[in-house]
Amino acid sequence: MADTIPLTPVKLTAKDFKSDQEVRWCPGCGDYAILAAVQQFMPELGIPRENIVFVSGIGCSSRFPYYMNTYGMHSIHGRAPAIATGLSTSRPDLSVWVVTGDGDALSIGGNHLIHALRRNVNLKILLFNNRIYGLTKGQYSPTSEIGKITKSTPAGSADSPFNPLSLALGAEATFVARTIDSDRKHLQSVLRAAAGHEGSAFVEIYQNCNIFNDGAFDLIKDPSARDEHLIRLEQGRPITFGADDRFSVVHPEGSFGLKVQEGGSAIVHDATVDDPAYAFALSRLSGSELTTTPIGVFRDVQRPSYDEIVRKQVLDARAQSTGTPEEMLGELLSAGDTWTIL
């Protein structure tokens, strides 16, 4: 967390972060669980409510700011990272969170997302991925599996999905993580890590849309099956999963990537590895079938934030100049070749 953000001595609670607005997602929507988890987590930051801003785009997830008793802006489709870039860059005292969805961030707003990440703007980006367009009532999204049958694709979708984490890593993201709406403890642990990261933090949250894409993540949620499919990444721990850790993530000799196998020498997870190839290899373990899906922090490396670099340029320029703003303006206006008429 940037040291430019003030802290409050007042102990806040989850209730302090609930706004007076009625929450209007469909009953049973995964967004409720995420909202509750975020509201419960926020007091941990110790940041006064007025210094926290949630900025969203358009879509079901983007209603999120209305329900947070902080500052907030529900903006336009796909543009939240751009708007938040201006806010964060000009206000180092704010903790700026972007709430977006798979359509908002990866389709109409794809350009802003990748550029916010490459710049390393000090934003915490929460992408609620339900692999469907919910607010427009059920068209396939850029994370829907190929062949998805929806209202707009009665014969099945023809386009291959994005892997959001691979995309973020390709865009030079310094912090990349994945979590699940229904696992509050894990979700909050990821939020904690994201909040502590200086620069862009990209968090994909698998979120169930019980109306248009119900059960999309059952394979990794169902208590009876998930242990065989869900890979929990923990810093400094060998990457194993399944009953009695029977599966290991290994780096086969001579191979570029990682793979899952029974037994063998599991690699030890280290999110701070500078080479993004490692996190990228991890991100490739899960295809759209989710049969082996890592969650947790994939990558967490340090690089100066855009905000910091831009602010430093302004501060340096100020430090090198003398006089009041009015005096400086007078000098600027009369710079160059002038002549005087008496």
Partner: protein, 670 residues
């Protein structure tokens, strides 16, 4: 071998229109070794007698009241720089000036071709002038393409200085000249001055040791030196400029200075130029001046807005011709607490600016028409959020990519109406290069005071044109600061983000970081006062109407009418950059005893309150625009008068002559 000094040389053909050098072929046929300019002629029934003077004559000095010079060459020839320096020298002297660059969008079009011609026109006078001049009195043509591209605009008798070194067979054929126009008599109606610019420059630099390529490139400084001599310009500032420009290459400083000096000396000593001209300083209001382009002035106006609002300025921009220079200029002035972000696209540029405005900065985005189209959705959001935002549109010829380096005023409809839903905002347009400074301050003032996006409609003509600007006193610039809301505004201690100031109808600007005022805003329709999401029909009706009403209620100054004799029956109504040509045309008509009134709009939304009354006072209202009648349509619809559109969409500004002849017809024939 003969020397024809003082001789009467007779010839049966007509030789040009006036004094000038003896034509080459006659020099050859007479085996003339040495001959000066023709200084006199005697027309006899069967022939013309010419008197020549061979001795380097004491250069005559003629007084002129105004001159228009056009420097034209290949886009790589440095014509913009040459024109710019000549302008600066001219400004130093105290003439009034107006300039017009004209260049292709291609950075380096194929050398020597017509599309590659770049030119810079400067008009200077001993009185106040309003335009860069319709037609040049002097053309400097660095190659055949530059001659061909500009010849049609030259009046008979104009001086043409040509770089003969470039009139090679190859270069001539590139532009379709079968025979050199210097030799086929086609330029007989002009005073042609053939000068071997390139070879003389290379010759002058032979001793300096610079590479031949660098020496050849200094030929524009030779031309500048010659013109500076011809028009008696003070050149110290150019020498200083060269020292600054090539600070890292002392050899080039020396080369360019030497080339400049060689050009000057050539004028001084050659017999090809017998007359030197002077244009006395103009009577201008006392003060300190600088020459400034519209884009520079606009950038400085935005910097001044930061200072006078006491807010950090945040500029989000994406490179686009002809607006990029504003981003370049502002990014040099971070010491004023200015942040500039070169965004990934036009949408992100305005998004970041709006985000910064939300955080309490003065958010600005600068672009041209195609960029405004992309920003449209975010402008609508800013209208719904009721936050300050300045959108600068330096208009260029459209639609689509159109002609990026040519001018047009065809974005007015887009500025006024180009958004989804009922989405009103304020629109203002500068009338001249230096006016861009004040228009930028005014745009910022309206945006901040009334919490609204403001579109500032500049165009390529004012953006790249220049004129002298009397520097304002910083203390006299308007104070445009506004207060953030820091305390609850409702009697019950709550904060209502859409409770309006009864005077300005602006909502409170409560920025993040303000304790107790946490609130959420967004693009969904908001309930009056509370800002909560609302789908209530009556509320939407109210909110749509109040968004319009609050723009309509922005007080803007009454429009002034210039009608010195107060007897005009025809009014010319313009807006933006047409002020100069319209003003010049009106002056010319009045000088000829034809009464005409001129009114010029700076505020296009809202329109001045007195406009209806002004328009009703005339029999005929003419609206010249560089579009197909966009303001005229607004005027006809709003005031129900038979406003007469007069339109030009050539990518070039109106000439005063075009407007004068059109208006003369209206004044005389109704």
């Amino acid at each position: 071998m003969v020397d024809i000094a003082g001789w009467i040389f007779d010839h049966t053909a007509t030789v040009g229109n006036g004094p000038g050098p003896l034509r080459k072929e006659w020099r050859r046929s007479l085996e003339v070794t040495n001959c000066g300019l023709a200084i006199d002629r005697l027309k006899l029934p069967d022939r013309v007698l010419w008197r020549f003077n061979v001795a380097a004559p004491a250069k005559r000095v003629e007084q002129l009241d105004r001159v228009v010079i056009r420097f034209a060459g290949d886009s790589g020839d440095g014509m913009q720089l040459t024109g710019d320096r000549f302008t600066s020298e001219t400004a130093q002297l105290g003439n009034d000036i107006s300039t017009l660059p004209n260049f292709p969008a291609e950075i380096r079009a194929p050398a020597g071709t017509l599309p590659g011609v770049s030119s810079f026109q400067v008009h200077f006078a001993d009185y106040d002038i309003l335009t860069p001049g319709d037609a040049p009195n002097v053309l400097v043509a660095m190659n055949p393409a530059a001659l061909k591209a500009n010849l049609a605009e030259l009046p008979a008798g104009a001086d043409i200085i040509v770089n003969t070194d470039e009139f090679t067979k190859r270069n001539l054929s590139k532009v379709g000249y079968a025979v050199s126009p210097l030799e086929d008599g086609s330029l007989d109606g002009y005073a042609v001055h053939p000068v071997a610019l390139t070879s003389m420059t290379i010759g002058a630099l032979a001793e300096t040791g610079v590479a031949k390529k660098d020496a050849e490139r200094a030929k524009n400084m030779f031309a500048l030196g010659l013109l500076s001599w011809m028009y008696s310009r003070p050149f110290e500032s150019t020498l200083r400029f060269l020292e600054r420009k090539f600070a890292k290459r002392p050899d080039l400083v020396e080369a360019n200075k030497t080339a400049f000096q060689a050009g000057w000396n050539y004028g001084e000593t050659t017999e090809a130029f017998t007359v030197r001209y002077e244009v006395k300083p103009a009577r201008m209001r006392p003060g300190t001046y600088r020459n400034i382009t519209g884009n520079q002035a606009l950038a400085l106006g935005l910097v001044a807005s930061a200072v006078r609002s006491r807010l950090p300025l945040f500029l989000g921009a994406y490179p686009i011709t002809p607006a990029s220079d504003i981003l370049h200029e502002i990014s040099k002035h971070k010491r004023f607490g200015i942040t500039t972000v070169q965004a990934e696209d036009e949408i992100a540029a305005i998004g970041a600016a709006l985000g910064a405005s939300y955080g309490g900065a003065l958010g600005v985005t600068t672009t041209s028409g195609p960029g405004v189209a992309l920003k449209s959705e975010t402008i609508s959001l800013a209208i719904a959020l009721e936050l300050p935002l300045v959108i600068v549109d330096v208009q260029r010829a459209g639609p689509s990519t159109g002609m990026p380096t040519k001018t047009e005023q065809a974005d007015l409809n887009m500025a006024l109406f180009g958004r989804h839903g009922e989405a009103p905002l304020a629109v203002i347009a500068p009338r001249s290069p230096s006016d861009c400074f004040h228009a930028a301050l005014e745009a910022s003032r309206i945006a901040l005071t009334y919490r609204t996006p403001v579109i500032l409609l500049s165009d390529n003509y004012v953006a790249n044109g220049s004129e002298p600007w009397m520097l304002p006193s910083v203390d006299e610039l308007p104070d445009i600061s506004v207060a953030f809301t820091t305390a609850p505004n409702a009697p019950d201690g709550k904060f209502l983000p859409y409770l309006r100031d009864p005077e300005t109808l602006a909502r409170p600007w409560a920025i993040p970081g303000t304790p107790g005022l946490e609130h959420r805003i967004g693009g969904l329709e908001k309930a009056d006062k509370t800002g909560d999401i609302s789908y209530d029909p009556a509320n939407h009706e109210h909110m749509v109407r109040i968004r319009q009403a609050r723009i309509d209620a922005i007080p803007v100054p009454d429009v002034d009418v210039e009608d010195p004799q107060e007897n005009a029956r025809v009014l010319v109504l313009g807006w933006g950059s047409t002020y100069g040509p319209i003003g010049a045309a009106c002056r010319a008509l009045r000088q000829r005893g034809l009464p005409i009134a001129q009114a010029h709009l700076r505020h296009l939304s809202p329109l001045p309150a007195n406009l209806g009354e002004v328009l009703a006072g005339y029999d005929k209202v003419v609206v010249p625009e560089m579009n197909l009648g966009q303001l005229a349509s607004v005027i006809r619809a709003k005031y129900l008068i038979d406003a007469m559109p007069f339109n030009q969409v050539s990518g070039l500004p109106f000439t005063a002559a075009t407007l004068e002849s059109m208006l003369e017809d209206v004044v005389k024939n109704g």
